[in-house]
């Protein structure tokens, strides 16, 4: 069953076509990676799915409902949850309050406190829960934001380069975390260019190149695809 379906979506900025006639389907229960070299249009496509940009053409469906015209908050209420590329937390609020703001619509009272504690421990942030989020290291802020995204208990978790700026260990732990949530039934769409990370988590992969779908398939077939390897090495780069 398809959870997110992107149908014939294009996005133009002035004369530049960042995403051109892209179809993409993310199935329920999978970890789907969107990869491609720099400038392939990954982040633009991510922002289109999230609702930060309106597409120039095409439509986006979530759980068979057309959400093309919906604002981000409405998409989140439907069961999406988002982590943007640059860490984006409430810097002048304490770490715990950051999590609380994400949780408060779903849980209250003792239950919420327990879930706050559970998430903080899971994210290795329990000792820092009274610190201001802005005082955390870059990697910790990334984790906190992943925690906020998880706190919504979404059907679909959308992650834009979640491991940017993380050490290899942190990256690995992030991957394990994503896999554990996926094992509990969460569908995940990750934009990533760290191939080691993609190998660790991905079940299916879509390759974007120059704004178009270049290849798609399961992880193994993509890894063995020579053309994909070539665009990563720059051989068929048009310009």
């Amino acid at each position: 069953m398809t959870l997110v379906e992107v149908k014939g979506v294009s996005k133009r900025f002035g004369g530049l076509t960042a995403v051109s006639d892209v179809d993409l389907a993310v199935n329920v229960g999978e970890v789907h990676c969107l990869i491609g070299p720099n400038g392939a249009g990954k982040s633009t496509l991510f922002k289109l799915i999230v609702g930060l940009y309106p597409p120039t053409q095409g439509s986006i469906l979530f759980d068979t409902v057309d959400i093309t015209a919906e604002r981000p908050y409405a998409r989140v209420q439907r069961g999406m949850s988002i982590k943007m590329q640059a860490p984006s937390v409430f810097k002048e609020l304490p770490v715990r309050q950051n999590i609380q703001i994400a949780l408060q619509e779903r849980l209250s009272g003792e239950e919420r406190l327990a879930e706050e504690d559970r998430l903080l421990t899971l994210l290795n942030l329990a000792a820092d829960s009274d610190k201001l989020a802005g005082a955390l290291s870059h990697g910790q802020q990334q984790w906190l934001e992943i925690g906020m995204a998880l706190a919504l208990k979404p059907q679909l978790l959308l992650l834009d380069e979640p491991t940017a700026g993380m050490s290899p260990e942190e990256t690995f732990r992030t991957g394990e975390l994503i896999k554990s949530f996926n094992a509990e039934g969460m569908t995940v769409l990750v934009v990533e260019h760290d191939m080691a990370f993609v190998r660790q988590v991905a079940q299916r992969v879509t390759v974007l190149h120059l704004g178009k779908i270049f290849a798609r398939g399961d992880l193994e077939s993509i890894l063995q695809d020579e053309k994909v390897a070539e665009i990563y090495l720059g051989k068929t780069h048009a310009h």
Binding site: V50, Y73, V76, S88, E92, L93, I101, G134, L152
Partner: protein, 357 residues
């Protein structure tokens, strides 16, 4: 529910703080026992403006929306009270006039706020659009001197101001003097505590989250525009409450309480006091109003020059506000060395420092 009186968004917690609160309240309640009626009337006059200051503190300090339109809604409700009280014939109907005039201010805020917030206006532009609207209302009322400008029997009367409305009345009893003072104190306690509960509630969480990072807040499923509009309407409604009480207090209102320099006053009070905390705003605004009134007796211009100088000094020397800064120092020096308090004050200090940088 009373748990919400304390929380991460408000300074002051624990027994010590609430003992101080009760002591100040007791002092305020016993004041009319040993002061003359002129003094009580004067005090009631300072208290009128506190609502406007608290409303701006909510919008600006908590919501991150710097509205220069507090006197716009002050004026709408102030004139609204006059028009309604005159048209409804005084007596107990003045209570309804007060409530309706505040509702009127909130509706006006809802309309203006809708256009600005849904239009994506924020930061500097939020200030100058609200100020433009304020000045236009002041200019408009300024040229309504002619007899053709009336609503029912209520003459707007241009710069000479509208008069002839009854003060707040219950039955045959005019709420004036000490009675008005007690009403004012009660309203301030209610509004202050209610705002503390609001900002420490889930809604308050979203309001400060929106100030910090509106996009992140939206990505957590909140329609931030609705929360901003709510904040704007509540803050403006409080300005309206000040306006209606002002007209009732003096049975008189003129356009000069809307236009410049009046529009700058709430900004000065809240900036000087410390916009990020309700208690600091309450205390600081009262002190400034008291000082302002004392100097105004000799020269209003001198008092206003001082207000301008204070605003300039605040942004140059203590952008987080003088009263808040001094309060923090005092609290740190006075005690509160308990483990939880120390952690909390560390958080607060860090918050201030990151604000300053």
């Amino acid at each position: 529910m009373f748990k919400l009186l304390e929380g991460p968004q408000t300074l002051g917690r624990g027994k010590k703080f609430w003992l101080c609160f009760v002591a100040v309240l007791a002092g305020a309640l016993s004041y009319p026992l040993f002061a003359d009626s002129y003094g009580v009337g004067n005090f009631a006059y300072f208290l009128i403006w506190i609502f406007m200051a608290l409303g701006l503190c909510l919008m600006w300090g908590y919501g991150g929306m710097l509205s220069f339109g507090q006197t716009l809604f002050f004026g709408i409700a102030g004139y609204g009270y006059g028009v309604l009280a005159i048209n409804m014939g005084g007596g107990t109907a003045t209570i309804a006039a007060l409530a309706l005039s505040v509702v009127l201010a909130m509706i006006a805020a809802g309309i203006l706020g809708y256009f600005m917030i849904w239009g994506g206006i924020n930061g500097i532009f939020f200030g100058i659009v609200t100020l433009s609207a304020t000045l236009v209302l002041a200019f408009f009322l300024g040229q309504t001197a002619g007899p053709e400008w009336h609503i029912g029997p209520a003459r707007l009367n241009g710069f000479n101001g509208m008069k002839g409305m009854d003060p707040l009345t219950v039955g045959d009893f005019y709420v004036e003097g000490s009675a008005l003072y007690y009403v004012m104190v009660a309203l301030i306690v209610i509004v202050y505590l209610a705002l503390r509960m609001l900002v420490n509630s889930g809604i308050g969480n979203v309001i400060v989250a929106t100030r910090e990072n509106p996009q992140r807040a939206e990505m957590l499923g909140y329609d931030v525009r609705k929360y901003q509009l709510l904040t704007f309407v509540i803050g403006s409604g409080l300005a309206g409450l000040s306006g209606a009480l002002y007209t009732s207090w003096g049975q008189f209102i003129t356009p000069s309480s809307i236009g410049l320099p009046a529009a700058a006053m709430p900004i000065v009070w809240v900036a000087f006091s410390g916009r990020s905390d309700l208690t600091a705003t309450l205390v600081g605004s009262f002190l400034l109003l008291f000082g302002f009134q004392t100097i105004t007796v000799y020269s209003q211009q001198a008092a206003l020059v001082l207000m301008g100088a204070l605003l300039l000094a605040t942004v140059m020397l203590a952008p987080q506000g003088f009263v808040l800064g001094i309060g923090k120092l005092a609290a740190g020096w006075w005690g509160g060395r308990g483990p939880s308090d120390a952690g909390a004050s560390l958080t607060e200090t860090a918050r201030l420092q990151s604000k300053e940088s």
